[in-house]
């Protein structure tokens, strides 16, 4: 049932895309994903439950008493996001490939990078929604206020970098034999600067460090986001061509 609906949507998108507008193409991809996900909620529920389970595991794995909590919260949060993120990225691309939507999109006379940006935005939305739920849950479980604007900014910037590279790499991994297993292997070593800077900046905001110290990792995050989204934009074509 969902398949049929998505097929109809893909055809609608192809018609939209044939008008040749880049922004139209991007938003077409984004809306297709959001609408499909809204109906099935399969990605979202999986990522959410997985995140909550990870937090639970961390509770047993680490001594999250009041003392250590402060130093470890940023790390726990970002580990959770990183692992749950691969789930979302994998499924998102697998859905494209399995339902043949990708081929349909590729036939349209639009720059391939529109597909890239569309997927990045939809993946980012999914990730942000999950993060938006994990944050209050963690706040409640560990009595720590995570709703500081600085922290939210870091989470946004970090997620952008993660999803930017992750979308490109998942487009590759989904076309290999090993598929799902390969994405974390490809992604994690490359996304370490994001994790490093994000944890450092998050930690800074949570422990009330000086702004000067926090600005440095934030700048790195911005730089990373810009560099890698630019690179992905340039090479995405090579990754999806037949």
């Amino acid at each position: 049932m969902v398949n049929k609906a998505t097929e109809i949507e893909t055809m609608t998108i192809e018609r939209t895309l044939s008008k040749g507008s880049f922004i139209k193409a991007v938003s077409a991809v984004v809306w297709k994903d959001l609408r499909a996900e809204f109906r099935s909620r399969e990605l979202f529920s999986a990522m959410l439950v997985f995140s909550l389970l990870i937090i639970l595991i961390f509770n047993f794995a680490l001594e999250l008493d009041v003392k250590t909590r402060q130093s470890v919260t940023a790390g726990v949060l970002w580990s959770t996001f990183a692992f749950a993120g691969t789930l979302g990225l994998n499924r998102s691309m697998a859905i494209e490939k399995d339902r043949g939507c990708l081929d349909g999109l590729l036939l349209a006379p639009v720059d391939r990078s529109a597909i890239y940006f569309g997927k990045v935005i939809s993946n980012l939305v999914f990730m942000l929604i999950v993060e938006a739920i994990v944050l209050p849950v963690y706040s409640v479980l560990y009595t720590v206020n995570l709703f500081q604007p600085g922290l939210l900014l870091v989470i946004l910037l970090g997620s952008i970098g993660y999803v930017g590279v992750g979308t490109l790499l998942s487009a590759m991994s989904v076309q290999t034999r090993t598929r799902d297993i390969l994405l974390p292997i490809l992604l994690f070593p490359v996304v370490i600067p994001v994790l490093l800077a994000a944890v450092k900046a998050s930690s800074g905001f949570l422990t009330g460090s000086e702004l000067a110290d926090i600005l440095l990792p934030i700048n790195l995050l911005i730089a990373y986001d810009v560099i890698f989204i630019a690179v992905a934009f340039m090479v995405f074509d090579s990754v999806v061509e037949e």
């Binding site: 490109l168 590759m172 292997i185 070593p189 370490i192 990792p217 890698f228 090479v235 090579s238």
Partner: protein, 232 residues
């Protein structure tokens, strides 16, 4: 694929000779370092392999760009060769770094920027080969390899600077003899000779292995072509 070109045969012999001389300089000619003792001698090979491997990885990123632009599979073979040789050299670098750390700081691993980045970089290029292994189509394999080598090559230096900027390192120092957390030492003139010779020797050895590996790749390509032709 004929026999080895003479130039390569000469290079093979030259590499072995240079390796021998470098070993002599590092083990005998250079003086024993006062603070750490003989283990410091691994430093010459440690830097020799590190420097060439890094060049190899940078070269691989360049090959990525050239391949993506020209779509000529020759550049893909060059990339595979350079990454494979660099992977081996960097492994040596990491192991020697660990061996050096043990007596110097009483720990098998220091999470300092260089060693950590080296480990991350090594993992990136292992992932590179795992990616390639999962693809059968040579053209797709080349394209994906190129993209990942490029992404990986860009992220590794960023990782290095990130660790340098954000992580304070606290290696455990034996007896506090070495105030520099870096485990640094000043080089005497003789040490410098051994050092620079090692750099030179390993560059030559790298080129030799690189060339040999390229020939292997070309041979692989020929066999693949034959197999394809036969199956038609």
């Amino acid at each position: 694929m004929g026999s080895k070109p003479t130039a390569l045969k000469i290079l093979d012999i030259l590499s072995i000779i240079l390796l021998a001389i470098s070993t002599y300089l590092a083990l005998v000619f250079a003086p024993t370092e006062r603070v750490m003792g003989d283990v410091q001698r691994v430093f010459y090979f440690h830097i020799g392999t590190a420097w060439t491997a890094l060049l190899g990885f940078i070269l691989a990123a360049v090959f990525s760009v050239i391949y993506l632009v020209t779509k000529d599979l020759k550049w893909d073979r060059l990339q595979v060769a350079s990454i494979e040789v660099s992977l081996v050299f960097f492994l040596i670098t990491i192991v020697l770094g660990s061996i050096w750390a043990r007596p110097a700081w009483n720990t098998w691993w220091t999470w300092d920027p260089r060693l950590t980045t080296a480990a991350v970089t090594e993992l990136i290029y292992v992932a590179y080969f795992m990616l390639r292994q999962g693809i059968d189509d040579p053209d797709k394999r080349a394209r994906f390899g190129a993209v990942y080598a490029l992404v990986g090559g860009l992220s590794a230096p960023i990782t290095f600077f990130a660790i340098r900027l954000f992580r304070t390192i606290h290696p455990v120092v034996i007896g506090g003899t070495n105030p520099e957390a870096d485990g640094g030492f000043s080089m005497t003139a003789d040490m410098r000779v051994a050092f620079f010779f090692a750099l030179f020797a390993f560059t030559v050895i790298f080129i030799d292995l690189f060339w040999n590996r390229i020939r292997l790749g070309d041979l692989q390509e020929k066999v693949e072509q034959l197999k394809l032709r036969m199956s038609m």
